[in-house]
Symmetry: C2
């Protein structure tokens, strides 16, 4: 089997670290691995397949010879270095939001719109974490009964913000347990024992950046501009695993049993739905898994064509690293790289 | 001013304790106070207005001479002792769900349906915590533009379950910080660093008891059976303060500015809505307050007649103790007791 020279940009961050793990766990055919980060982290050693790799400073680095570059270094790094990597011949899979809504850039969840990869120009955008897990479950419903409208509320883990936020939640818990003042630096308010209805800044329409991503990216990935979406995205004191309450209105009514059946047959989904036994998706259950967990599937009693779902997924894996690597795998399978 | 002989049943629980605080803080005209609990807590001393009061065993107790009895001892205590208290001449305000949907029992939020008190037969039901805070904000919208449908997702504090759950969340945080095994007794799963899409048991329709309460009680309190409501209620690792993402569809479209104006003029509501400055309702901000905090008010981009809101309120106060005592105050003002 052919192997590829791979790079991870942002290798010291929460998503970058997860990418290194997922590349190994999924046995992605890596011939050689290079790890990049900002100057601050350059020189660090990371382990990959038993080898010690030195993190390189991304500034001034050449991407020549790299075939697949996974970008997880944030907006600025992607906007500056991703086009450079493409120009130097790498296939870039970019986890930032920078290129996602560019009509020339495919925005892909392999279970949903793999064919969009065929129109790529060297760069594929990896969608927003809370969007990925939602479209994985929306796709089979849309194919079966056409989705008209989605009302989503999220319960998002702090790892979506990054390592500093994970550290801060743990430091806050420690301070609360010890009865000491609670350090607040990463978020505008304490996150331990609290929930924050803010993810990113706010637009003039009152929606947060995260909410706007969910609304716009869903339509682009699903390839249907008629799907109406509204979202309230909320940060909760969870380390890993985003959860979502999803209310779906379809053109043709579906029973809960039909939806459960659609979910059971769809790729990338695990049905976890026996509420009487307290079996339903949980973030601590989703953490470490690649599937999107779906449960609490029920007929919406407020609308004849409504369905209620509750989902959870690992935001660092399916919401970021796993999806990016699945994109790379799909490119390989389609012989696009 | 006339003063009343008052009893609190369930005086050692989270809501009972809050009732004792709220009676004092709101200067309810208490002539004498009696405190009841189960045998386990009988004999405990509680403080009320600087006096030490001994908690009495509710079993076998006489309610004669008590004018206002606030019940916060749970379903069983209410089902057994509330009718007895009524028979012995007390006006009962009951925080349990036992009598709420009884057509002969008023279910009252004073800002919403005070007139329902006039038809009482000795017992008034205090609604479910997550319902109370929602109807306070729905009422002015309904009056202005008639609400057709509500899609609600909740983020509920563990104090809604009671003191044992508050203790367990804190014990779990302590164990996590210390790297020790996490004790799990109150909920079917760990609640620290997790969220649970289960509040109460589940019905054959797949909705939880809490969700069903929200859906049914909202229609009864609002006095309009045509309002379609669906809810997903979720327990989050917060000690005090329930939050809710509320999507409202009205018959007549409202702008966000109109809704903000309605909220600003309505009783029991505090508008906390300047997201650009990270000002929005938070459970830790709502804790200790009697008002329902509302913010993130925006036009729902998925529906021409949709509005999105985010609210938070103290579930032990407005969600339970404060509302019960406001009911008693309203009864006094209406000369119904």
């Amino acid at each position: 089997m052919r192997e590829y020279s791979v790079a991870v940009v942002g290798a010291s961050g929460a998503v970058g670290q997860e990418m290194l793990r997922v590349l190994q766990q999924r046995q992605f055919p890596v011939k050689s691995l290079r790890a990049f980060a900002t100057r601050k982290s350059a020189g660090q050693k990371i382990e990959f397949k038993g080898q010690s790799i030195t993190v390189e400073d991304v500034e001034g680095a050449s991407f020549r010879g790299i075939e697949v570059a996974l970008f997880a270094g944030g907006e600025v790094a992607s906007s500056v270095y991703a086009p450079k990597a493409v120009a130097e011949g790498a296939l870039v899979i970019d986890n930032s939001s920078h290129f996602r809504m560019d009509p020339k850039v495919p925005l892909v969840v392999p279970e949903v719109n793999p064919d969009a990869l065929k129109q790529h120009s060297g760069l594929i955008a990896n969608p927003n974490c809370s969007t990925i897990q939602m479209v994985v479950v929306l796709k089979p419903i849309h194919d079966a009964a056409r989705i008209k409208r989605v009302v989503m509320s999220s319960y998002q883990a702090v790892s979506g913000t990054g390592k500093a936020a994970m550290d801060e939640l743990q430091a806050q818990m420690q301070a609360l347990v010890a009865g000491q003042p609670v350090p607040v630096q990463v978020y505008p308010h304490q996150i331990a024992l609290n929930v924050l209805p803010q993810i990113g800044g706010f637009g003039p329409d009152g929606y947060s950046e995260e909410e706007t991503k969910v609304m716009n990216e869903t339509r682009k990935i699903m390839g249907d501009d008629r799907i109406a979406v509204t979202a309230t995205t909320v940060r909760v004191p969870v380390l890993i695993g985003h959860s979502e309450a999803i209310n779906v209105e379809t053109e043709r009514p579906l029973t809960a049993a039909e939806v459960r059946d659609l979910m059971a047959k769809a790729p990338g989904i695990k049905v976890v739905d026996d509420p009487a036994k307290s079996v339903y998706p949980l973030p601590i259950l989703a953490a470490g898994q690649d599937d999107v967990l779906v449960g609490r599937i029920r007929k919406d009693l407020s609308h004849p064509n409504g369905i209620e779902l509750w989902i959870a997924a690992d935001n660092l894996r399916k919401g970021a690293a796993t999806n990016a690597i699945q994109i790379a795998e799909t490119m390989l399978n389609l012989a696009l790289v």
